[in-house]
Symmetry: D3
Subunit: 138 residues, 6 copies
């Protein structure tokens, strides 16, 4: 059996969002979500790291062609979140409070069955330089 | 005369914005401002660097107490832009298209006459890891 | 059962320390601990990353409110190590040689039973940009 | 039993390489390996992170003296790849297509039996700021 | 007169090179250029920062459309150096020893008369995380 | 006349210090210098950037051999501050309050007349990721 390598691709996107529940008042939302509930939105430069685990193909020395992985991430994720409003514009986040926890899981769901030559191992999302979130399908 | 040192304080903030002119259609705005004109907003983690130039006080070894500079930046800038919508929520940006060029100049104007013990030398704003803007009062 | 996300908060602190054993001579300490045994101390900007693993609360989209996690880290760790001497000032490090290995484990012990809504998964400590240490309670 | 800590040392090296198979034409190589197959070579600043897992020695507070680990990495890896052509100059890569996957595994093999006081846990290689690869001996 | 802002675009490229003079022996080249003279080449991930100084257009809030600047840099520089051998493949470096000093000046010459809406102010080139070079047309 | 390039070398060092004036009480020092006056010291990982401005030698393509610059910085600065107490161990800081302003100027004075093939243009010192200081001999 071939050896297994973890391959990670890093991408970035810029988006607006708001943390709130429509059934609550602005005041109640402020209490739960703090300044992230600003009704006029705020935004972030998100950094996304997608890790694939797979055997190294002895013919090419690749787990997966990283150009192909980049394309899969762009088609399924970046094109749908970059310069978007995550509450309004992104179909795959509809119905979710766009916390980084929920975005990370939703990105996993967008990618999990699109990877060939390896399996999705981890999705990591940096919301700021001080806060990041990771989902491994557990 | 005492020697002059450039002292820089780095701060960050997260905000939403949209580049557009209200007198134009969405289509016309898209042509000029591209994806930054998304009517539903997008956002960024901005990094701000404020540089003060001044003589070193021989009594303290400081140009300016950096805790005091941090406070000035928070009161006059960060509290007004962090987790805000730069088109709607920020009084000192009213009437401006919130390009990084215009934000940088407006932050300079917020700070220029608030610094004591040195003079404001530069305001630098990173919009993303690939684009940054600097204004020196010229 | 809800899905599990790893949530990480990054903090920094600046501290002095010295690696030595009081029962040894300076020369013997130098032999074991090298320049880190300087009797007059040296110091670092430490970067601390605390990772919590927990189920995403479907009501809020949070594993744990990251502002609450930040507060827990500040009260139990940062306030006791920032701008301190780790050999002298920090009660939770008393009796330990303050190597990064020992500091990392001691920080884990400070935090392990303070986290609610998830369990402490990892404590990572960067001593410099080239050396970092991680403890997972094993 | 003593507690176990993951200790990581980061090093960098600069090298040239080319992804190609000698039995194929330049055109065929271009199809598989893209611009990385440039017959005149290209190169990278690689960042290498070597992680050792081991029990903390109660006598020193160390898993392994990090100066010793640095030395092991320099003798066995850095001296053989820094400012080298990975296809031509590096004996431990002979016969391999120098993809980051293959380099990462080969560096593991260089180091695995050289570490004392802990066991090699992971070798991570950053090819660019956007692509990195990790091997854990699986 | 409108206010002037310094706008910077950051790009990266990966290339191979060798520092040597063809009229010298390998030994003589080694003496002058050290390990950078390796006859089999080595390489780097270069980071390029291009700064344009110009008045802010009151109609758009832009000095120059940064997408246009990115395009100018790609057409005139990145496409000619990325995944190339700087001694062999890059016409605009022909006849030069590809030190970072010479590359920086040559990139300036590629760009200086291509910028509209502002003038080229600085070209900065990071060869490694520890060495960088800047040319301002002086 | 040859073209002029700004060449920068980055180095790091780890040191302890305390901001205080011996003629004041601990209380008075606390009032002026805050937590930086901790009598038991604290410390930092400092990052130092030394910039030399000079004409490019047409024979080598160098302003100055960067290995030589590194050596000059190590002999005159790093060897005297790394893993040291800046108040006690460093002769070139004697009699100074070791604020970053004063350290930056003192490092300039250590280096200014040691550089050949160019002149010292700037000394920049990062005390933390948020605070940095620059001196240009003014």
């Amino acid at each position: 059996m071939e050896k297994k390598v973890y391959l990670t691709r890093r991408e970035t996107f810029a988006a607006a969002h708001r943390l709130f529940k429509s059934e609550l008042t602005d005041e109640e939302n402020l209490k739960i979500f703090g300044k992230c509930s600003n009704p006029n939105w705020h935004g972030h430069n998100y950094t996304l790291e997608v890790t694939v685990l797979g055997e190294v193909n002895p013919d090419t020395g690749f787990v997966i062609d990283i150009k192909r992985l980049k394309e899969i991430i762009h088609v399924n994720v970046i094109s749908k979140v970059d310069h978007k409003n995550l509450n309004i514009d992104t179909a795959f986040l509809k119905g979710l409070i766009p916390t980084s926890e929920n975005i990370t899981i939703a990105i996993w769901n967008q990618l999990a069955n699109k990877i060939s030559g390896g399996k999705l191992y981890s999705v990591k999302l940096y919301e700021t330089e001080n806060n990041y979130f990771e989902y491994k399908g557990e």
